[in-house]
């Protein structure tokens, strides 16, 4: 173990159990593998770790399993619980979570690439619509509507690194509602207000939402 300084040697050695279990980050895995390749004594110690790893699994596997009554007991307790209130955002949360869970990493990667191209094209189109509408400036005063097709909207593509939980929190914190999507390019039509809003007000909302790390792209929508 004379190829590394003592601090690095001790640091790497502490990581060996996680290396055996395959739970290290890619960077740490690489560090450990390089050290193992260059240090026969460390490699010998790693074999000890692998023995412990195998026998710990075997020991735990011999512990058996709970009886079939365990689930019965659980559901008897659940039955005794008070009726559950439906959470208002449940459907939306579940929908978003299920949508992201249904995509494989490969699909997500392709979606991101396709989105980059589609968004570039759509951004130009949307900007064009916004500029045209600036000439109007006429707004109707109407009562708030529950019709998902009525209100003020934006088009949002969420950042690739945002988890479904991040997105759900973002939507709830800003009182937003997904009206449609995903559309080509990974875009969602998101309602920001239940009534129509002046263009400068929508622009202000868009600017504010854009600062959130969950948002990859945002523009006003019709």
């Amino acid at each position: 173990m004379n190829t590394m300084n003592k601090e690095t040697q001790s640091d790497i050695e502490e990581l060996l159990p996680w290396h055996a279990a395959g739970t290290l980050s890619r960077r740490d895995t690489q560090r450990v593998e390089e050290a193992l390749a260059n240090d026969p004594e460390l490699a010998r110690r790693y074999e000890l770790v692998r023995e412990e790893f195998g026998e710990t699994i075997l020991l735990n596997e011999t512990l058996g399993a709970p009886s079939g009554h365990a689930m019965e007991k659980l559901f008897a307790k659940i039955d005794a619980e008070p009726a559950r209130k439906q959470v208002a955002s449940f459907n939306l949360s579940t929908r978003v979570a299920e949508f992201f869970a249904s995509l494989s990493p490969r699909t997500l990667a392709w979606s991101a690439a396709a989105a980059a191209i589609a968004i570039f094209l759509q951004a130009g189109l949307i900007a064009n619509i916004v500029i045209k509408d600036k000439a109007g400036g006429f707004e109707t005063a109407s009562a708030p509507s529950t019709d998902p097709g009525v209100g003020a909207f934006t088009l949002i593509r969420f950042a690739p690194q945002a988890s479904s939980d991040d997105i759900t929190k973002f939507l709830e914190a800003n009182k937003l509602q997904v009206a449609a999507g995903p559309m080509p390019g990974g875009l969602y039509k998101v309602r920001v207000a239940v009534t129509g809003l002046p263009k400068d007000e929508i622009a202000r909302i868009v600017k504010k939402l854009q600062e959130d790390k969950v948002v990859g792209f945002i523009a006003t929508a019709q």
Binding site: E14, E51, E52, A65, P66
Partner: protein, 186 residues
């Protein structure tokens, strides 16, 4: 075929979906049971505790924020329940099977015979570790938890996780040495 992720199951459970609860239970109850059993060392207590753990999952699903894996979250709940149970019954009787596993270090014919089988001696030594060391060894090797996840479950800093694991392994070597197996480490 793609299985439903634990996170989606939790979202469904938050909405009162019993089928999702059954799926989650079927998927994780054995591992949770074994984790609890290694802590409380009593099969009946461990079996009672897992229904409490999953009842908490049912109750708390709506508050699950996805900051950790569902299995990590459940092991945190399980650990809390197990330690609470141990506090309630500090002189809990151990069943025969588990008591055997923690017999004293004295050499006897059984151990002498086991010395011929290094793997068996190693398993015996793993059973003789303290609860604190047993817990961390199980979380890392059997439950395949990362440094960060173990820190979250046990409630200690990541640096402490690494040193505790190191000392658990060192203690394991000492026990093995007492049993006549010198691993040449530490």
């Amino acid at each position: 075929m793609q299985t439903t992720s634990d996170e989606v199951l939790i979202a469904r459970i938050a909405g009162g979906d019993r089928l999702a609860m059954q799926v989650l239970f079927a998927r994780h109850h054995v591992r949770v049971y074994r984790f609890v059993l290694r802590l409380v060392r009593n099969e009946a207590t461990a079996e009672d505790l897992i229904s409490d753990v999953f009842l908490d999952v049912w109750r708390q699903a709506g508050k699950f924020e996805g900051r950790s894996a569902v299995s990590t979250w459940m092991l945190s709940i399980a650990r809390f329940k197990a330690l609470s149970a141990l506090r309630r019954k500090p002189e809990q009787e151990l069943d025969e099977e588990t008591a055997e596993q923690i017999e004293d270090h004295a050499d006897n014919p059984e151990v002498a015979l086991a010395k011929k089988d290094k793997a068996a001696v190693l398993r015996k030594a793993l059973s003789k570790l303290s609860a604190e060391h047993r817990e961390i060894v199980d979380l890392v090797y059997y439950h395949e938890k990362s440094v960060e996840e173990v820190a979250g479950i046990v409630g200690i800093p990541e640096a402490t996780v690494k040193t505790r694991m190191f000392y658990a392994r060192k203690k394991l070597s000492e026990i093995l040495k007492e049993q006549g197996i010198d691993r040449g480490w530490p």
